[in-house]
Structures are given as structure tokens and as C-alpha cells.
Amino acid sequence: MQPFLIQLLNGVQLSMLVFLLAVGLTLIFGLMNILNLAHGAFFTMGAYFGLVVANDTGSFWLALLIGPLLPFAAGFVLQFFVLHPLAQRGRSTHLDLALLTFGLLFATAGAVEHVFGSAFHSIVTPDLLKGRVGLLGMEYPIYRLFIIAVGIAIGVALVLVIDRTLVGATLRAGVDNREMVTALGININMLFALVFGFGSALAGFAGVVSAPVMSIYSSMGIGIVVTTFVVVVVGGLGNLKGSFYASLIVGMTDTFAQAYLPEAELFAIYILLIAVMIFRPQGLFGAVGRVA
């Protein structure tokens, strides 16, 4: 029973990590209709920038705070100066932009390898979250519980912001009718770039958060981004709540496959995805083009 519970918690922890990535990806897609294949690049950027900060200052908390700033800036610049101007010109914009970000994903992995080499790095767990805690008669690392808490907190905060605040209302309006929002005097390009930056920052945040439990290496983003794609497709592209549930489903599937069916470890989530595509091609939680 206890190993099962531990696997369950591990699954939730992985789910929350993937959720942090999926939420940015799905927000960007829902709002701007851009499939950002480079989302994993921002994950990598955040992790490495966090690593640099942590090595310089010795503080995990500073790394967590400052690490996401670089992906935020990079995401903002990418959308405002590259993707948006290109989208103004192309015909089949979303596919072109997806392919462009595909190139960016590999360029980032290559650039990181050039600067940091191909070694594996890690950020030390902060003292406050070290050790294990007794839970239902077993021991569980505090840090992993912290990841779960962070994921849930960010999910709740996002739902509140999008449902209850003016910014959220503007975003929802932007999805429904972009021209009307522009006519009301809102600089939608700036708003989109900020959201792109924010989504990228969340991916970078996930990179720092994961650093104490997973390794930091140059192609770390390429692996996890495919899992994230599975999540957003299962949850329905552009659907925020759907991506939360889908993160749990995918994270659990992956964790339990690794624990109990190691032969299927590398493809269990794809079988899940294919099953979803056969029965509900629009994703389990439907409604494409919605932010919330």
C-alpha cells in the first residue's frame, strides 16, 4: 500500500510540474493561436538562469525569483519582435510559427550546450524544504510536497485571475473578439506579448522548481515539451482547466507506467493520447479557443 501511495504522490508531483508548462502553452495557444514548440526552450532557460543565480548567491529562493525573468524577457521579445510581425504577413501563420519555434527549441539546446557544456547540473534543495515528513505512516520528501503545493497554488491563482479580474476579462475578450478589444483602446499586441512572456516565465519557473529533483542538462526541454504537448492535446488546446486535469491524467499514467510496467514507460502516455484522439479528437475537455 505504501509504495502505491508514494507513487501516487510522485505522480501528482510530476503532474504539477507538467501543468506549469502546459498552462503557458495552452494560454498562448488559446489567445494567439500559436503553437509554441519552443516552450521547452524556456524551461531550459529558466533552469540554467536559476542555476547561475543559485551558484552566485547560494540562494535557492533568489534563483526561483530571478530565474523566470530571462524566459519572460525572451518570450516577450519572441512574440513582440518576431512572431507577431511574421504573423502579420503569412497565410498559414500558425503552422509557420510552430515550425519557427521548432527551430528555436533546437537552437536553444545547442546554445546552452555551447555555454555550459553537456554536463548534468543540479540546484541544491533549500534548507527549509530539506528532509522528509511523516505522512500516513510513511516518509515523503518535503520538497516534492512543495512542488505539489506550488502547482495547485498557481492553478488556483490563474483561475481566479482569469475569472475574476479586469486583466482576465480582457484576455477572455481578446480570445472572443480581438478587433473589438482593440477598438476599446487596448493594446492587444502588448497584451499578447506580455502573456507570451508570462507563459514562458511559468515554464522557466518550472525549470527552477524541478532543478532539485531532476537534473539540469542542455536538452532537458526537448524531452519534457513532448509530454506537455500530450497534456495540452488531451486537455483540449487552449483550455486552461482541461490542461490541469489532463496534467494529472498524464502525470499519473507516466508515473505508474514507470513503476509497474517499465516496458511501457516510454510510450504509455502516447497510447493514452491516441486513445483520446480516437474517441474525442477535440480533447477530453473540448472547447478549443477558450482560455478558461
Binding site: 497565410r91 519557427l100 537552437a107 555551447h114 497510447i271 484522439m277
Partner: protein, 334 residues
């Protein structure tokens, strides 16, 4: 807004008008023949190194041609075609090494099996379109990539070695000789191209272009769009598998990397460089790609970095990228 729509429908008519006419077809055939003759003469003029590059470019060209059928002609952008490249290589490896069949049985059986596997995969994938199609093809290829790494009887991530080249002793030559292998690849590439040309100039090919341009109209004209898409997917898969067979014979081995995500991306890149919608385009794109890749590998070890930058530049500079690229020459003519 409405002006945009009107323009694009005119553009669409323009595309349909561009479907090969007899005269342009003859010019095309002449060009094609010239191309083939100069490739035949190549070994007597250049060094072994250039011939190696030419072999790589032709194999990549066959691979990109398969992608072009799906992406350029049918309008479905896939990031998972490398799985069929891997299927081709693994197919003959399993056939010859594990089952002990001769190559001339293994190769056709491989192609039939690939078509049989690709049809249901295509049936699932073509239920979606646009970026979702891109994602699900990617997921399928990642799944098979994962399976190839895990499977014991194909040696997991080490892959399989000892893949035979065709036995040409009847002609008194050995395919292990680079020049002979060059001609073998050239023959297969030309055959694949002719087959592809036959496909895209047939009524079937016109329906595929129709789907790309206006799927709803094709549907209301009574075409079973779903079946045509599955057909296109399966044919593209078979052509990619041919490239996979050649590739594994060229290197004498196959490993899961043949199915990697990056390989699929490279194929799409070649199609964009060469220009979708042209039969020879992917070969041009493949040649450019192979040469650039060689040049890059001479000056830097950070291949990923430059591959990524190169990719971004091509997508950004070729206006409209994959699908928009097709409309560019028509836009200029108007």
C-alpha cells in the same frame, strides 16, 4: 477583411490552373531527363567525397519527397514522418537478420507492412488538422521511438547492424563499391520520383491538391476526403520507408535515432527549402540541406545551434513557409 477573402479565392483558382498542362509537362520531362543524365555522369567527374554527399542528398531527397506528398500536395504538415524512415530500416533489418529472408523478399514485405501500419495511423491522425495534426503525428513517432529504444529483440537503443546491400553479382558488380551503390540509390530515387510524379499528376493527385486548397468544396463535390487523406498518408509513409531502407543500407545499420523528432523536422525543412508543390523541390532542398550540414559540421561542433538557427531563418524568410510558399509565385503573377 472581405477583400482578403476574395483575393485568396482568386489565388486558389490560380493554383488549380497551374496543374500540369501537356506542354509544361513535356518541358518538365526534359528537365527531369537532363537532371537524371547529369547525375548518371557524376561519378566519372567527382571525388568519392562528393559522391558520398550525393548519395546522402538523394536518400534525403526521397525522404523529403514522401513528406512533400503529404505536406506540399495534401496540405498536412507532419512532424512524425521519421517513424516511417525508421520502419523502413527496421523492416529490412528484421526481415534479413531475424527472420533470415533474402533482401528481395524483405524489402517489398517491409513496404507492404509499412502501408498496412500507416493506414490506421493515418486514419487516426487525419481526424485532426493544422497544429493538432502536427502534434499527433509527433506523438506517434515518439511512441515508436520509445518502443524501438525499449525493444530487446531489435537491440534497444544500440540498433541493428549488418544490413545487407542488394546482391548485384548477376551484373558482375558489388553494391559495397561506392560507385555501384551510388547508381543503385540513383535508380531507386528516380523510380520513386517517377512514381510520385505519376501520383500527383493523376486524378488522385488533383483531389489531394483540392483538399489542400478547399477541403469543404471537395467534400461537397462528393469526394470521400477522409479516404483520400488516408491514402496520401499511407503513400507518403511508403516513400519515406523507401528512404529508410536506402539509409540503412548506406550505413549498414539502423538505430532508434532514425525515428527521432529532429529527423522529422529535418525532412520538413528540406521541403520548405526546396519549395513544396514541385516534384523535384524536395531533392533541391535535400541537396542544399546536406551541403549546409556538411559545411556546418566542418566549422562547428554545435550542430543543434546552427540547425535551429538555419531552420528559423528558412521559415521566416521563405514568406508564408510551408503552405504559404505555394501561393507566393501566384501572388507575383497577378
Amino acid at each position: 477583411m472581405s477583400a482578403d477573402v476574395a483575393l485568396s479565392s482568386e489565388q486558389r483558382i490560380g493554383v488549380l490552373k497551374r496543374l500540369p498542362l501537356p506542354a509544361s509537362r513535356r518541358a518538365y520531362a526534359a528537365l527531369f531527363a537532363l537532371f537524371a543524365v547529369s547525375l548518371c555522369a557524376l561519378p566519372s567527374f567527382v571525388s568519392g567525397y562528393v559522391m558520398t554527399l550525393a548519395v546522402e542528398a538523394m536518400i534525403a531527397g526521397v525522404f523529403a519527397s514522401g513528406i512533400n506528398l503529404l505536406t506540399g500536395y495534401t496540405g498536412l504538415v507532419s512532424l512524425g514522418q521519421a517513424m516511417f524512415l525508421g520502419f523502413g530500416g527496421y523492416g529490412i533489418a528484421i526481415g534479413t537478420a531475424l527472420l533470415g529472408w533474402p533482401l528481395w523478399i524483405s524489402a517489398p514485405v517491409t513496404l507492404v507492412v509499412v502501408a498496412a501500419i500507416a493506414a490506421p495511423i493515418g486514419a487516426i491522425c487525419t481526424r485532426t488538422r493544422g497544429v493538432e495534426f502536427l502534434l499527433i503525428t509527433l506523438a506517434f513517432s515518439q511512441m515508436f521511438y520509445g518502443a524501438a529504444i525499449k525493444l530487446r529483440w531489435t537491440n534497444g537503443s544500440d540498433g541493428m547492424t549488418g544490413i545487407p546491400r542488394p546482391d548485384l553479382s548477376l551484373l558482375g558488380v558489388s553494391a559495397d563499391n561506392p560507385t555501384v551503390f551510388y547508381y543503385y540509390v540513383l535508380a531507386v530515387a528516380v523510380l520513386s520520383l517517377l512514381m510520385l510524379w505519376r501520383i500527383v499528376t493523376s486524378p488522385f493527385g488533383s483531389v489531394l491538391v483540392g483538399i489542400r486548397e478547399n477541403e469543404r468544396r471537395m467534400m461537397s463535390m462528393g469526394y470521400s476526403v477522409a479516404n483520400y487523406k488516408i491514402g496520401s498518408f499511407a503513400l507518403a509513409a511508403v516513400i519515406c520507408a523507401v528512404a529508410g531502407i536506402l539509409q540503412s543500407q548506406y550505413t549498414y545499420f539502423v538505430n532508434p535515432d532514425a525515428m527521432s523528432w529532429q529527423m522529422s523536422g529535418e525532412g520538413v525543412l528540406m521541403v520548405i527549402i526546396g519549395g513544396a508543390n514541385v516534384v523535384l523541390g524536395p531533392f533541391v532542398g535535400a541537396t542544399v540541406f546536406v551541403v549546409v550540414k556538411q559545411a556546418l559540421s566542418m566549422i562547428t561542433e554545435e550542430y543543434n545551434l546552427f540547425f535551429g538557427i538555419f531552420f528559423m531563418l528558412v521559415v521566416a524568410l521563405f514568406r508564408g513557409g510551408v503552405l504559404g510558399f505555394i501561393s507566393t509565385p501566384i501572388g507575383k503573377r497577378q
